[in-house]
Amino acid sequence: MNNYKIHMDKKKWESIFKDWRVLLALAFLILAVYIIYPAPWIHGATIRNVKPGSPAYEAGIVGPSPLDLPVSKERIISINGRPVYNAADYYKLTKNLIPNTTIIIKTNKKTYSVFVKPKIIKIPLNKTINKTIVESFFNKTLNKTVNITKIVQVPAYKTIVNGTEDLGLSVYDAPKDNIRLGLDLQGGTRIILKPEKQVPPEVFDQIMSSLEERLNVYGLSDLTIRKATDLAGNQYVIIEVPGSSASDVLSLVEKQGKFVAKIGNETVFTGGKDIKYVCMSADCSGLSQRQPPTMTENGTWVARFSFTIKLSPEAAQRQAKITSGLSVVNVGRESYLSKDLDLYLDGKKVETLKIGADLKGVPTTDIMISGSGYGNTRKEAINNALKNMKKLQTLLRVGSLPVKLDVVSQEKISSSLSKSFLSNSLLIGLGAIIAVILVLLIFYKRWDLTVPIIITSLVELTITVGLLTFMGWSIDLSAIAGLIASVGSGVDQQVIITDEVLSGETRKAYTWKQKLKNAFAIITGSYLTTLFAMLPLLSMGAGLLRGFALTTIVGETVGVLITRPAYARVAEILLKKD
């Protein structure tokens, strides 16, 4: 069996590189390398998310789409002329900015001037001042909105500048290739939701899009949100947000977000379609100016927020109709209507607002919504109030989900663990290659047979990863297990080819065509069985093992269709006696 050696000459090399199967594999290899785009020279801080309303957002920086290839995503390369090599550089350079200045952020695509906003803290003084405000009312008799100027007493504040407002960018080290890493290899949050009850597909789609919109409003654009069904027909929504904390995402997606404003038992307006506009900018939303944060009796703090919304004309008419039947009650100097406006979120009363007597029977479209946040310290209370405000604004704007979603699983992978996973996986890959080389050397005792098998497997691996990248799939831990498995069976199949070719040599009647036909019959059989054995995994268990199944299937398909024919041809040219 070992009695013939490979003599490489120019003619053999030529015939190898003239064969179409070899050329096809090479073309795929080049294409895969182009898609993967290994670019170790790339540096900078790639933009992950942009917070709406933040200085960066106002400067025109937009967050990436999850469909963008990692290398093509916008990355910051310098700030004020100072180079940014990684995410740490970015955070270092933006740590001590001077308020009310403009900084130049240069990305690989554009140059932005970002205005650094001062962070203003209001300290309440124990006195009140007069303030002139303008209120808009809808005048029935004139049938148009009129402005009334009023003087009200508001608590006095002292404003001080305390550092700068966050630029609103979250960044990460610029990726050096286009391979999308799964959550467990780059860190982040995965949440699996299940609709309370089975819903038809179009409703399911609606859920998906409102969830996505909610997260986008919150400034999370670099996320994947996909639906999955399992073998039992259960529906799931899987949300993966890289580099973000679980509680943030959870608070946004968990709620059905059914917002209802009622007076008594009658619904005035609901979130979503009844609301034309939700103010999210600083001039008409923020901490309440009338009620500054205060300490409660039990020592905790409460902070109030308020923002304005614009109702649809129908909702305004509805309000006018309901309020016209109410009586006016005087409380101290102020006069209110006899019933309050109650705000419900997912069936729970979150706020009760008093309605000014002047709104009786008036179809006003401008409504001030308020709420509060609690905390152990003043700062915590303010932060929570602002967080709650944002959530409420989001829910009002996007509207509710058709059904409630239950969180069935949540997962958060820290970036340090994911980094060690990544280096560990590379170690496994390297070790696996060495192990395979050793086994092949023991079996064949020849380098000239081992080297082509290893090269072919590496080519196969590259093409598979390239193809997965091209299809927008990410490589996670289970995908790595799949890659190892598929490359493993790739080596097996090449061993089949090699052995078939070698053993057949003694039998003269056995032609090359027959040998390869035999080998390929076996290979096809083993390919098909693996393929069909993996199929149920594609849909099982909310698709969490889809990565494993898909990678195995893609890897083996690449092997059977592209690299195996090329290897067979190379083996034939190498081993055939002249």
Partner: protein, 399 residues
């Protein structure tokens, strides 16, 4: 029947001889022939030299001398023949001796001649493992030690710098929650991490215990830990689907095999082989009470695909072969198959040893154990069974 057996033995013998030359390429075989040639030439030389001597020394007494020399020659010839015979006997003895000595040969002969015994042995292994599953099930009251991915619960993973803290964590949990299901694991080789898994405790309970250890309190505060929570309904629905997935996978594989060979019995052998691979691997998981997760299921499905490979190789090479080639082809396939299985085993075992991830660890363990059983089942069960089947087929065809 008696005749049949005789024929069979003859065939076996023939096949053995052929096989020795063809497959194993026993290095002794070509050497032997070379030796023979050398001997022959030596004899010729001797004969020639003796002839020359005769003619030179005794010119006068030709007649007598010739007779004498002829007698001597006959004597010499006889002697040489005797010697040759002796040498041949010696050589044969040597070969026999060699056979006795080399374990490989003994095993080989046993494998070739007593194939039904081999078959019985591997089937006994299957039966023992199969029954052990039930035994453990009765003894423990449950079959599989499901992890949180299949029954719901929490896993918290933290980087571990000081390895001594591992034991501290274990004892702390034992003290704080004596009757709860908590598993503490040490993961990784170079950079280690600790994972705490529980289906009874919630995340805050686990974190509160962990944050008592100074190494972890900062990590927990800075939110830099990893966790997974799975609701129990999701876990249970995963598990129900597990069985479904494996059955589907098995059925699909069997259909492909049947369509591929278009021959029921050998296809059944292949499917049975995959079944016993699964059962035996499962028995090991049950025996060591290892955690069973969704990743384990993925690995078992992968095993179905993998285990069929060597069987397809064997069956497709042997099935249509001529009768006298069956054994040589089995050995032929075995060489290829062992190379295949060994590359896989070495890779999966290495990954099992080195990985930091529980998912990969579980997958690789099952693949490694599964490949060991697959090697046993393919070459010690399916191969003899296939031979038996083919022998029966040939003899029935003859009748």
């Amino acid at each position: 029947m008696v005749e049949d057996d005789k024929v069979k033995e003859k065939v076996e013998h023939k096949v053995e001889e052929k096989e020795e030359q063809n497959i194993k390429e026993n290095p002794a075989a070509p050497e032997k022939t070379v030796e023979k040639e050398k001997e022959v030439s030596r004899d010729e030389k001797r004969e020639k030299s003796s002839e020359r001597n005769n003619s030179d020394e005794n010119k006068g007494k030709k007649e007598h001398e010739r007779k004498e020399s002829e007698r001597r020659r006959v004597e010499e010839d006889n002697k040489e023949r005797k010697e040759k015979k002796e040498r041949k006997e010696m050589r044969e003895k040597k070969v026999e001796h060699k056979n006795h000595k080399s374990l490989k040969e003994t095993i080989r002969n046993f494998y070739v001649k007593k194939y039904k015994v081999v078959l019985a042995m591997s089937f006994t292994l299957f039966l023992i493992l199969f029954l052990s599953i039930f035994a453990f099930n009765i003894q423990r009251g449950y079959l599989l030690n499901k992890d949180i991915s299949l029954k719901g619960g929490v896993v918290v993973t933290l980087p571990l710098k000081n390895e001594a803290d591992f034991n501290v964590v274990v004892s702390k949990f034992r003290y704080a929650f004596p009757n709860k299901d908590v598993t503490v694991r040490l993961l990784g080789t170079s950079s280690k991490s600790i994972s705490v898994e529980s289906s009874d405790l919630n995340k805050t309970q686990i974190l509160s215990v962990l944050s008592q250890i100074p190494e972890f309190s900062d990590v927990i505060k800075s939110n830099n830990y990893t966790f997974i929570t799975v609701g129990s309904t999701l876990g249970e629905s995963f598990f129900r689907q597990t069985i479904k997935a494996i059955i589907w996978s098995f059925i699909l594989m069997s259909i492909v095999v049947l369509l591929y060979f278009r021959n029921f019995t050998p296809s059944l052998f292949v499917a049975w082989n995959a079944f016993s691979d699964l059962t035996e691997t499962l028995a090991v998981i049950v025996m060591f009470n290892m955690k069973f997760s969704t990743a384990s299921i993925a690995a078992l499905l992968m095993l179905i695909g993998y285990s069929v490979d060597t069987n397809i190789l064997l069956t497709s090479r042997v099935l249509k072969a001529a009768r006298d080639k069956v054994i040589s082809l089995i050995f032929n396939s075995m060489r290829t198959g062992l190379a295949m299985s060994l590359t896989t085993m070495v890779t999966t075992f290495f990954a099992y040893l080195v990985t930091q991830s529980l998912v990969i660890r579980q997958i690789m363990f099952i693949l490694t154990v599964g490949m060991v059983f697959d090697t046993i089942n393919t070459w010690l069960f399916n191969a003899p069974l296939l031979r038996w089947y083919l022998e029966n087929k040939y003899s029935s065809r003859r009748k």
